[in-house]
């Protein structure tokens, strides 16, 4: 088990980028890396693997940049890649436990950062009550504020399925939230 975790999660293949592609990718990273990182974390990618997952997302993007057809925004396109990377991490069974998140809080500095991190940790606990497909949809809709058609494109699900998953996810998260308040 430990050996499996120690193995590199992401295999990289050297790529030579055209100058224009390098400029575009650099701009995409500057604009969207933060949001992609956040989504990866909320989808359950452990903090210790988040950097690698983010790197893998943009490496894949670099290879597929020439295939980008402009049917969606660059951000939607990147979310689609990141979602598949997150699924890959989950398949490797390296999901982070809630306890790991509590440890993150102690490393925070300013009060505002602490509050943000605690909120993220609390949200992660709520999200853990969802199945994977509901979690993906909920994060994209509520946290990243994407529209249902965009989410359908990212996840590859039908629009009605997206609506259905979102409705169930909201109910489940609301219930988990109420329970958590009752416990505290």
């Amino acid at each position: 088990m430990l050996q499996a975790l120690a193995m590199p999660l992401f295999a990289s293949v050297p790529v030579t980028l055209a100058p224009d592609h390098a400029r575009v990718l650099g701009g995409l990273y500057r604009e969207h890396a933060g949001a992609i990182f956040r989504a990866l974390r909320r989808w359950g990618v452990p903090d210790r693997h988040a950097d690698d997952a983010l790197q893998e997302t943009f490496l894949i993007a670099s290879r597929k940049l020439g295939e980008f057809e402009g049917r969606s925004t660059h951000l939607t396109w990147l979310f689609g890649i990141a979602l598949r990377v997150a699924r890959g991490v989950r398949r490797k069974r390296v999901l982070e436990t809630v306890e790991d998140w509590d440890a993150v809080d102690d490393r925070s500095g300013a009060d505002e950062q602490l509050d943000t991190r605690r909120a993220a940790a609390h949200l992660d606990r709520l999200l853990s009550s969802l199945d994977e497909s509901q979690r993906e949809v909920f994060v994209l809709a509520e946290l990243e504020e994407l529209s249902a058609p965009e989410i359908a494109e990212i996840t590859g699900a039908k629009l009605n399925t997206v609506y259905s998953r979102l409705r169930l996810a909201r109910q489940a998260v609301q219930k988990a939230f109420a329970d958590s308040k009752g416990d505290s």
Binding site: D20, L25, A33, A35, Q55, S62
Partner: protein
């Protein structure tokens, strides 16, 4: 959802990695892919005004270059002096020279590649690029002027912007394809990509106006 839960999600939305952490990943990416200049930009945050400003600035540079370097100038001594006074156009000169030495077939290939990268839907229009590029290259061979190629870049992008303003996406894509063929690494290549991405965005469906709350 309750207000409390919405507030929690709002606070969690602020949870982003530190700049140092992002920079670290960026450095790893650059080790894999080579330099990733941040100047590429993303169209979502840079609108037409920014592009128009860039084009106007480039036009001013082109005008200055044209005044400083008249097209008749041919002596090597004068060219050397000019190169020292403005390094910005040095790159332009190299790019122009490279384009001139390319065969027509090579130029066409580059046009198609560029078009696929930035705006795949314009692929059919890219076939017109080699002819235009070859004509322009032949013209430039007769009177190599650093300012002229920049002026040509500006003219092509202005043509694309004008077409976009008129709603003529096809014409805009043709102009961009010409620019990609003629100046694959031109000074205004980033602007070309932004404009191309804007055209892509125009092709997207209208934003969904239906309520986000599921009954």
């Amino acid at each position: 959802m309750s207000d409390d839960l919405s507030a929690l999600i709002g606070r969690a939305r602020g949870d982003r990695p530190s700049p140092e952490r992002l920079e670290k990943v960026h450095a790893k990416l650059e080790r894999e892919l080579g330099p990733l200049p941040p100047g590429g930009g993303v169209p979502a945050s840079m609108g037409p005004t920014w592009i128009a400003g860039a084009v106007v600035l480039a036009a001013v540079i082109a005008l200055v270059a044209w005044r400083v370097w008249p097209a008749e100038t041919t002596s090597e001594a004068e060219t050397a002096t000019e190169t020292e006074t403005a390094t910005a156009t040095e790159t332009e000169t190299e790019t122009e020279t490279e384009t001139e030495t390319e065969t027509e077939t090579e130029t066409g290939t580059e046009a198609e590649t560029e078009t696929e990268a930035a705006a795949p839907t314009a692929a059919p229009t890219a076939t017109a690029a080699p002819t235009a590029a070859a004509t322009a290259a032949a013209t430039d061979t007769a009177s190599p002027s650093p300012g002229s190629s920049l002026r040509e870049e500006v003219a092509l992008l202005e043509r694309a912007m004008g077409a976009r303003e008129r709603g003529d996406v096809e014409e805009a894509r043709i102009a961009l394809a010409h620019h990609a063929a003629r100046f694959p690494d031109g000074i205004l290549a980033p602007e070309r990509l932004r404009l191309s991405a804007e055209l892509d965005a125009l092709a997207l469906p209208e934003p969904v106006t239906e309520p986000r709350v599921i009954p």
